[in-house]
């Protein structure tokens, strides 16, 4: 078993529990923005994809890396964009636009 595995497992378990606690508190009103926001956060995979695409080890890994950069970055851009668009629409009574 590689040395990093145990540490990663610690991190995973703690993050999963933290995730449960934080996400449990998200208002059901905002479950759709929640899903698009977590999609955008998950798109941090782009970081790994950038390294694979830029390390230039083999032609295959560079091409697959670039594909992953595109797929993940589209989620990052699109996810934040649509989440903000949705949240901008949530208004409270009495503060209506003219």
């Amino acid at each position: 078993m590689p040395a990093g595995f145990t540490t990663n497992l610690y991190v995973f378990v703690l993050a999963a529990f933290l995730g449960f606690e934080v996400i449990k508190r998200v208002s059901p009103l905002l479950h759709t923005p929640l899903m698009s926001l977590t999609n955008a956060l998950d798109a941090v995979v782009v970081v790994a994809a950038m390294i694979i695409a830029g390390r230039h080890e083999t032609r295959l890994s560079t091409v697959l890396g670039a594909l992953a950069v595109a797929a993940a970055f589209s989620n990052m851009v699109g996810g934040f964009l649509i989440t903000d668009r949705m949240l901008r629409m949530f208004k409270i009574s009495g503060r209506k636009k003219q």
Binding site: P2, N8, F12, A16, L18, I23, K24, R25, V26, P28, L30, H31, T32, P33, L34, M35, S36, L37, T38, A40, L41, D42, A43, V44, V45, V46, V47, A48, M50, I51, I52, A53, H56, E57, T58, S61, L64, G65, A66, L67, A68, V69, A70, A72, S74, N75, M76, G78, L81, I82, T83, D84, R85, L87, M89, F90, K91, I92, S93, G94
Partner: protein
């Protein structure tokens, strides 16, 4: 700066990004702070991406740039879709997330062989299987939501056995690869079989179950990203994946509870089939119907109105007419609220977004529990395009396919009005005894047109719309 110092700085930046991600989710707890959450997430993501450019192992930036440009070109339009299309957009973004995780896993396999330990091979195989099946599964879900594919469950005899055998085949291949990582052609075979399994997993699931499926796929995508973090020893991915995975999991549980179904039942039950036999036993019952004029006068004389919107309202594009009705009734001093069932719409929370888009203030949107406690004091419950979630058979008829599903108990209101095209059973084909109650008035017609007529009636005919 030495490479080690650079690496440490990069790690600190990633830790900052993770902290911002957690804050982002924390601020999503209330609509008042939610936009700060998006900003925090954006800053965190930007920090992570920009810092990565300083990674000493990068030797060439051309393909990174190409990927980022293409990603932005795809991502911007996907961020600008209309709110009705958000469920299929979300399914597409699950597909992209899974694709990214899967292809990185594939690339790692081909980069590392033949020097890959059994442990690494196990991680890679698991990651690639989950990523691949989530990719095609999400594409099928998006196709169903976009109505490119039939929404009805597509099933055949022995389907579950076949599907599980396919998954079993992928697992067996993975086991062989763990023992002999370089076995020719087995790795691509495992990828292809996992892709096929993703298709088989989602194809039999009907449109009404999409809120659960989309949430489950969300958690798979998160899980594949976290596994990728294990493969690459990248903690930022482990954390982001764990957060995404637990979010998807929580939403799946909420959706299953809201439909009184188990995961297994959603995945293997093919909802919307068994009702065909039940539809036969129709007896002659009388319904009362009302015209827009009558409906308008009842609404105008009410003190409190609870509107129960369903997916049918969104299909009819009636939400802006409903907002006009809300405005006009509120101005007349009627207390109008909207009761939102957790599975109203095609994904968790979708109905809230559609109503917010129509400028209905979010403090007027109440959840199922609050709605049910207010219902006995409610003068009029107005059901628009929501069938199953208001069906009292869920409480009373043990033979009903939806028996046990929590509903919005509109039958406790003093008067019930249901806007519906006809008495035909809804999408799931389940008969609704609500329509035959003495207190129920059926408003037959297209939701948008009917609500428009009520609005015109209430505004004295002076409104053209």
């Amino acid at each position: 700066m030495t490479p080690l110092a650079t690496q440490q700085l990069i790690d600190f930046a990633y830790i900052a990004a993770i902290a911002l991600f957690i804050l982002a989710l924390r601020w999503l707890s209330s609509p008042a702070t939610a936009r700060h959450g998006v900003l925090a997430g954006e800053i965190g993501a930007a920090v992570a991406v920009v810092t990565t450019f300083f990674n000493p192992s990068l030797v060439q930036f051309r393909w990174i740039a190409v990927g980022l440009v293409v990603g932005a070109i795809i991502g911007v339009p996907l961020g600008l879709v209309p709110m009705t299309a958000v469920p299929q957009r979300t399914a597409m973004s699950h597909a992209f997330g899974a694709l990214a995780a899967a292809v990185i896993g594939i690339s790692e396999y081909y980069t590392r062989i033949p020097h890959v330990t059994r442990f690494e091979m196990t991680e890679i195989a698991l990651e690639v299987i989950i990523g691949s099946l989530s990719f095609t599964g999400s594409l099928i879900a998006a196709g169903k939501l976009q109505e490119l594919l039939p929404q009805r469950p597509i099933t055949y005899k022995g389907q579950n056995v076949v599907s599980l055998s396919v998954l079993g085949a992928a697992v067996v291949i993975a086991l062989i690869l763990i023992v002999r990582p370089t076995f020719p052609l087995l790795f691509p075979a495992m990828v292809v079989i996992s892709l096929v399994f993703g298709v088989m997993l989602v194809t039999p699931i009907g449109g009404a179950d999409m809120p659960t499926v989309i949430s489950l796929l969300n958690s798979y995508v998160g899980l594949s990203a976290a596994l990728l973090g294990f493969v690459l020893n990248a903690k930022v991915l482990v954390v982001a994946g764990a957060l995404d995975g637990s979010s998807g999991f929580i939403l799946s549980v909420i959706m299953c509870k809201a439909m009184n179904r188990s995961f297994t039942n959603v995945m293997f039950g093919a909802f919307g089939q068994l009702q065909v036999s039940a539809a036969g036993k129709q007896e002659e019952r009388t319904v009362r119907s009302a015209t827009p004029e009558e409906a308008a006068s009842i609404l105008a004389s009410a003190n409190s109105v609870v509107v129960v919107p369903g997916y049918g309202m969104a299909v009819a594009q009636a939400q802006h007419r409903v907002r006009e009705l809300f405005d006009i009734l509120t101005r007349r001093g009627v207390d109008v609220k909207f009761a939102i069932h957790p599975v109203a719409g095609r994904m968790p929370g979708h109905m809230n977004v559609l109503l917010a888009e129509a400028d209905i203030p979010y403090d007027k949107l109440i959840d199922m529990e609050n709605a049910n406690s207010e219902m006995p004091q409610t003068d009029v419950a107005l059901v628009i395009g929501a069938n199953d979630v208001t069906n009292p058979a869920a409480k009373t008829d043990q033979g009903s396919p939806i028996y046990g599903m929590p509903i919005i108990e509109v039958d406790n209101a003093r008067t019930v009005m249901v806007i519906k095209r006809s008495l035909n059973p809804g999408f799931a084909g389940i008969d609704n005894p609500l329509y035959y109650l003495d207190k129920t008035l059926m408003l037959f017609g297209d939701a948008k047109a009917f609500v428009g007529s009520i609005v015109r009636e209430l505004s004295g005919g002076g409104h053209e719309g």
